[in-house]
Symmetry: C2
Subunit: 331 residues, 2 copies
């Protein structure tokens, strides 16, 4: 009883003086973000759409937020990590495929020609995936991805790839979910490449992952039903494909979207064109010391047209160097 009374008196004193009461101050939901427009825009948006007395209030069921993955949630340099995974698979399978020595993009892989590989883009990546993984079942493929992630390390940072996820974005995902947002990945990368690890790393379950895919086929093997991965593109979840993938998978328009390149432009346009309050954000890679600096002329993660439109429309642009206290967790 006495303790309770002291608590009430403390709160009253705080309310009166509004100072020196850190124990009662709301906890910063985005501690790795420096104070600035990006952080305050995010908090203003979330506070507004979750406030039932605000005209822009959004019901929890409609709080859909979509995130690009490569360059938005984790790094994408020197090349997409999925491409580095495919390279290792090509190298280990090369003895069985002598024709790869003179066929692109396999030749580039075997000659370690990163520039030629980067130029092949996400289509090239998917071609490598198809050539190296067709015939596997979905479950076998998931196991190969997990095994690779458990041992492979990034050439510059010498850390597992799953540690090269952006700490400020992990905080943003958690902040949105704490405010009853449903967070989805909408990536040009392979859906089956992401699903084995994104739940553990981002807290995003497999059913909230949208990505590029190859076709699969139901078959019986030794009396057991399996899904066999076929060497045929099913869907490219990039550029104008992103709104298509979102509609196909989610069936409602996001109210917030997060990307980092021209490949995310249509997703952001689709998101902000809906009725009511909307939020769109681009991560701008400006930190060549702690990560990489690139935008308009980059082969990977090119940010040119979307950057112009973002500035014209007043979308939030994160300056990684200045807006983020840390890049990766554990730094």
């Amino acid at each position: 009883m006495i303790k309770k009374a002291i608590g009430i008196i403390s709160i009253t004193i705080c309310a009166i003086f509004l100072t020196g009461c850190s124990a009662f101050a709301p906890k910063d939901p985005l501690p790795s973000w420096n104070e600035g427009a990006a952080k305050s825009n995010i908090i203003e948006f979330v506070s507004t759409v979750t406030n039932p007395s605000n005209p822009a209030y959004v019901l929890p069921a409609e709080r859909i937020a979509t995130f690009d993955n490569d360059g938005t949630l984790w790094s994408e340099r020197p090349v997409y990590f999925q491409l580095l995974f495919a390279i290792d698979q090509v190298k280990s399978l090369a003895p069985q495929h002598p024709e790869w020595k003179t066929t692109q993009p396999f030749q580039a892989v075997l000659e370690n020609d990163m520039q030629a590989l980067a130029a092949s883009g996400e289509h090239g990546l998917l071609e490598l995936i198809m050539a190296t993984h067709a015939g596997n079942t979905t479950e076998e493929f998931a196991l190969i991805v997990k095994q690779w992630l458990a041992t492979a390390k990034h050439p510059k940072f010498n850390r597992p790839y799953t540690e090269l996820v952006y700490q400020p974005m992990l905080e943003l995902l958690a902040y949105l979910r704490a405010n009853k947002f449903k967070t989805f990945i909408v990536s040009g990368g392979g859906i089956e490449f992401m699903r084995p690890w994104v739940e553990q790393v981002y807290g995003i379950p497999p059913e909230q992952v949208i990505g590029s895919s190859i076709k699969t086929k139901f078959a019986m093997r030794d009396g057991k039903p399996v899904l066999v991965r076929l060497p045929e593109i099913n869907f490219i979840d990039d550029k104008a494909g992103k709104p298509v993938g979102i509609n196909q998978h989610i069936g409602r328009r996001p109210i917030a979207a997060f990307g980092n390149s021209d490949g995310d432009l249509q997703m952001l346009q689709w998101t902000v064109a809906g009725a009511g309050k909307r939020f769109s954000l681009l991560v701008h890679h400006t930190d060549e010391v702690r990560e990489y600096a690139y935008d308009r002329d980059s082969h990977i993660g090119k940010l040119n047209k979307a950057l112009d439109i973002a500035r014209k429309k007043g979308w939030t642009v994160v300056d990684m160097k200045n807006d983020w206290k840390v890049i990766y967790s554990g730094q």
Copy 2:
């Protein structure tokens, strides 16, 4: 204080005598189900996988349950309701398409030849949908569906189609969700035909609906981004397509699956082939008085091979006539 003491004494008396304490008996989660094998199988399964001390316990995140729609959650006779919707659309658009008078399946629609229509199956249905709805945007199409459902009535029951959903299945959906299952629809019907109403009727949000689809294309109209529906099949979510659709959309194998026809066989096979405890159920249409009776020879909702396999494998088969106290809500 006195009330609390009486409560404690009552509970103690109940615990001692284990009788005459209906106020404390657990509420029947499936009141529209008669006592019998189907009901007890469901409850035994749910109790087992949600009991943390049972070796067959399943974490909430992995409690995925998939439901066919036509004939499993709502009726599908005299023909799929989506076909009746398409018929009305064809009739209203017919003056602009004189060629439909001599082209199937349009001719059958205009001549009210239900048998010819039924024979065209779900592919025929999709052909009608494509012909009557291509060029619309996704949002325009959703509006057309809603408007039709608000006025159209079933030819036999003279009730809105959304009232012809099975009360016992609504209870089953609610029971599973109360036990932290995530419930999905996996239907041969059109994904965009279901999404406008299933959230309100079944409590299943659009992002948990998997179905057949036509392709869509991102486009700018009057400076606004839209998704235009194209006259081209994207995916047929039927038979061997159901496990493919489940994997594409959910990315993990269901632990329980519910269907009513041979079109659901592969979904059920895929579900029960996973590790751990699994559940599969077929709704058998045996009630020609309260609904319809059909199985092996039916054009729509044919249940032949799956019925044999269900009996051989010991899957649960619901006898609608004997297992369900009511068919529809409000009866």
